[in-house]
Amino acid sequence: MASWPPVSDRALIGKSIKRLDGPAKTQGTAKYAYDVSRPGMLYGRLLGSPHPHARIRSIDISAAQKAPGVRAALALIDPAAGEAAKVRYQGEEVAAVAAVTEEAAEDAVRLIKVDYEVLPHLATIEQSMRPEAPVVFPKGNVTPASERTEGNVDEGLAKAAHIVEGVYSTQVQTHTSLETHGGVCEWTGDKLTAWVSTQAVHSARDGIAKALGVPQADVRVLADYMGGGFGSKLGFDRQVVVCARLAKAAGAAVKLMLSRKEEHLVTGNRPSAFARVKAGTDASGKLVVFDAETWGTGGAGQGAGFSVPYPVYFFPNWRQRHRDVYINAGPQRAFRAPGHPQASFVTETVMDELADRLRIDPLELRMRNLRPPDASGADPANRQWRKYFPMAAEKIGWSKRHPTGDATPGPLKRGLGCAANIWAGAGNPKTLASCEILPDGSVTMRIGTQDIGTGTRTLVAMITAETMGLPLESVQAAIGDTNHPFAPGSGGSVTVGSVSPTVRVAAEGARNALFAKVAPALGVEPTALQAKAGRVSVTAEPAKGMSWRDACKLLGTEPINFQGNWEKGLSDVGTSGVQFADVEVDIETGITRVKKIVCVQDAGMIVDRLTAESQCIGGIIMGLGFALYEHRILDRNTAQMVNPNMEFYLLPGMSDIPEIDVTLVDQPERGVVGLGEPPTISTAAAVANAVTNAIGVRVRSLPVTPQAILSALEQERAGGTL
């Protein structure tokens, strides 16, 4: 069984280590799929439907084919294909061309003539749910309610001394990865090489092979670098398949990267969430009931599930009845902690409202109602809110929190809010890695994972170097290639828990094979050896040994190649954390400025402290976007996206960034734990609660725009509904 070295004995693991690819990324020499250039390469462009719902009567690509510089043109929809001849959202792919320049491809796309029979469309949830709405989707516009429940909600409601009721909602958020989806495809005979902007090289390979009807062994997917995905690049992507078909038809390599507009329209989003909630406590402030009617839209034909109450607090009686609503908009995809920020916002807002109803401190209400400890009487290692809430409260100065509504005169109101998160990302037991030691001392770790910006490449090298007792620079981490052993897609915060144990096992195996070669030369058993500080030596007598290079020379001409399988015991499942927000709201302009976010997050056994902290900071900043700025806006008449760009789809910028205070709770005994998603879950809920604490009026909908704040205040002044 593999194990981690003792904490006191770690040269790299747990330290702050700079990314290995920092120099390549800062110099602009890192090659992303978007940057790949092949000899004779053509440029592909897609034609997307301008209509949100239409039947394709015909597609005429003949003029495009004859246009200057065009080498291939494809109709992507067969008008005779019945239901499959319909497009169900703006931007859905209809045709494609490849030409010698991007400009020529752009021109040629305009020459494609498509005869659309425009069909009635649904642009909003309300339109879709109307009884008289045209049925646009094969299974109906709204799914039947699915129910989850525990305890007895009716009894709970009868028993509750205090009840709050409200409708809470969150918006559709697009991933807005900076590198758009797409890739470069090049055929050599029957073999396809695809440079893809992906979070999952192996599943991209499988998807492309299936769609093209070619053997998986004939497709090689490469992703040396990729410019962000956040869940939207986990599946196989249609545009890469189109790119491969164009390349085949043209007999040349083709690059097809989506435009920014296409990226917003067709590559996924976080579905909207609506919840009509009735929740109550007993007279002493013990939660008794949570009853929710929920719905949301993941666009055309995709679900929009999220689970409330969010499982941080204990409601003995709860029920959720959920319906998915379909509209004519781009389908949802996994988005960093799918369902969690929505569920967290709904639940944490309700918690604050209950606290106000009880006239107690919302933190106090939370502490009284956390999920109970397990049978041993202790909170499990991955559910430590009882410890983290007071830590973060101390850091933000919670003791100075005023009751809801800042009574300070003047337009600037300050407020504090908090929220918690939970996430379960386990390692994938099927992960493989292969470690090679060459006779000249070179070490290469090959693993078919990918670095989506989290620092996976650095982590692979760190664990390998740690195991071999070598400096980081003297090992190679080879990733982002389907020719390397299988590793899962980078989603669900599983990467670190899959990759780290497997790399450790492979490195230990290779190192032990080297020990077996060296032991006779030193006259000891292989188990008596250690690899440390660039030497292989006898553990009990470190002076007795040789340099790493000399040890490897003993291999003669035969390198070591050891394949490692994932092992249990080196990683753990799940993490928990809390976030607190301090905000300032100008009640004249409605503008919210977040002053400070405090984050306390369980990080398990930290591999690279520097990148782990960056992950938390990044998650928080994405959470700020969800809280205050980001919103996919569809025109309610045309179902066209109004802001498919980066000008009016607002992301946080440098001036929006508050002070961010991250405390990583290092629990080395737990093994490694995924950290990609949890830090983005609770930011929006904490910010929204802080806004309410500042302005004294409940904010029940995201994003908390100036307009939302001003109208909430207006409603309150007018006698309101609250």
């Binding site: 990314r19 990324k25 800062t26 110099q27 602009g28 962000g228 910006g453 100036p706």
Partner: protein, 236 residues
């Protein structure tokens, strides 16, 4: 920029052009002879000769006049450090330096940039030694997926060339035209300020606190472009 009289020493044709500040004139005067006749009418739509001075090397290209500087440099010169992200001047991933000022290269035409000294992220390293800004980005972890990084590095280099000791507020404003989706801002700011601390002893000109120093227009306005934009959006 203070305009220099012709009699003053140091006058050059480039200074004249910069002072006039008209890209069209630049194209006409410095551009290859073929553009002279076209100057009377419209250029293109077919390819025309375009000469670009990129990272100290002059490149003679045949480009359609509609080709942006970004696309010319990425697709024709294969300098792919600068990225295409929003393609309409709102994210800064394509930031280059032209005659000392940062530009969004996705939003200028290559043909209009003739005669200007264009610098891309590829030009900052001397030999194998990283520029102090690049070094600081690596050390502070001012990057994650890295797709915005070249733009941020370029903006930070340009800032420090104009103002070697920016205050955090000046640095924030200078970098406000760049967008990062991974959320590296905190550490990007630290990285942009780190070379300032390191170079503090060099005795370069000081810029008083509160002044934007050799500021760009957006800095002089006192508000970052995104703030301005956001306010405009909010006001409807």
């Amino acid at each position: 920029m203070p305009s220099k009289k012709k009699s003053e020493p140091g006058f050059s044709r480039r200074t004249f052009l910069k002072t006039v500040g008209a890209g069209g004139v630049a194209a006409g005067v410095i551009g290859p002879p073929a553009t002279a006749e076209a100057q009377a009418g419209a250029l293109g739509p077919g390819p025309v000769p375009v000469q670009l001075n990129v990272n100290g090397r002059v490149h003679k290209l045949e480009l359609e006049p509609r080709v942006t500087l970004l696309d010319a440099i990425r697709n024709r010169l294969n300098l792919t450090g600068v990225k295409r992200v929003c393609d309409r001047g709102s994210c800064g991933a394509c930031t280059m330096i032209a005659d000392g000022r940062t530009i969004y290269s996705c939003s200028v035409l290559a043909i209009d940039m003739q005669g200007k000294a264009i610098r891309t992220v590829e030009s900052f390293t001397s030999g194998t030694v990283l520029h102090p800004v690049q070094q600081a980005f690596c050390e502070k972890d001012g990057l994650m997926c890295g797709f915005c990084t070249p733009g941020f590095v370029t903006s930070a280099v340009a800032l420090l060339e104009r103002n070697p000791k920016p205050t955090p507020e000046q640095a924030r404003k200078a970098l406000d035209g760049n967008i990062c989706r991974c959320g590296t801002y905190v550490r990007v700011l630290e990285a942009a300020l780190a070379p300032r601390a390191a170079s503090g002893a060099r005795g370069q000109r000081e810029v008083p606190e509160g002044s934007a120093g050799g500021a760009t227009e957006r800095e002089r306005a006192g508000v970052g472009p995104r703030e301005q934009l956001r306010e405009a959006v909010r006001r409807g």
